[in-house]
């Protein structure tokens, strides 16, 4: 049929399952999608891995310094087909992340490509690093 090829691949499968269990607690969507946060002097950038999620199925809100990502991955099974294997993460997800640095909520720029959502915020003026001159 259609099986995993080597013992190494089977170990990799197991490792992935364990990773998922460790990160998500067996299927809890709390830490899905995976997020990275990076900053420059002027910006905070949040990236989320949302493979297969369509733009219209993704809702992004930002309120009181908290970013919320909600969405679903609709995997449709065409009529007459059957699933042989399901490994992808849960269909619906919601994750919130509090940005530690004050940002200008209106400044957010969103980009969505290759299953990666990138949100770029401008830090509010008060949060930017400043050079203080010593008199």
């Amino acid at each position: 049929m259609f099986e995993t090829y080597t013992i190494m691949d089977q170990l990799a499968d197991l490792a992935r399952e364990l990773d998922r269990a460790f990160v998500t607690g067996w299927g809890s969507p709390r830490t899905y999608p995976a997020l990275n946060v990076a900053e420059t002097a002027d910006t905070i950038e949040v990236r989320a891995l949302v493979p297969g999620v369509k733009k219209e199925d993704l809702e992004v809100t930002f309120e009181d310094g908290t970013l919320r990502l909600r969405g679903k991955r609709a995997l449709e099974l065409p009529a007459g087909a059957v699933w042989l294997r399901r490994e992808s993460a849960g269909a619906e997800f919601e994750r919130t992340v509090r940005l530690g640095t004050p940002v200008d909520g209106d400044s957010v720029k969103a980009a969505f490509a290759d299953g990666v959502l990138t949100l770029s915020f401008r830090k509010s003026e008060a949060a930017k690093p400043r050079l203080i001159s010593i008199n």
């Binding site: 090829y5 691949d9 946060v37 992808s88």
Partner: protein, 126 residues
Amino acid sequence: MFGLKKNDAATATVERANDTLPRVSPAVDVLENESGYVLYAEMPGATKDTVTVTVERDELSIEGRAEFAAGGEAVHTEFGPVVYHRRFRLGRELDGAGASAAVEQGILTLTIPRTAESRPRRIDVT
């Protein structure tokens, strides 16, 4: 004998670069329909240019590379650059040479038809 030709050197560099990245096994969903199998592999960050699919005899191998260029200094990190890699063995009923692949929204979709002999056939009763 041991010298590398220019092309080999370029290939070797790419392979070395791939080797330095962690290799992860992508999650896959597989469905079966009348015409064959469809495999969906989650490879966020991978593109048409970084994904390769090879079929050799009954072995199907998928590989994809995701770089995730940094958007500044990392504050919180849950993922990083990876090489997705996974291999499968194709059953005799599948025609690996007839497979087609597409990458969209971080999902590699691989359509593998059945061999002509294994397709369902209607047999007329006379």
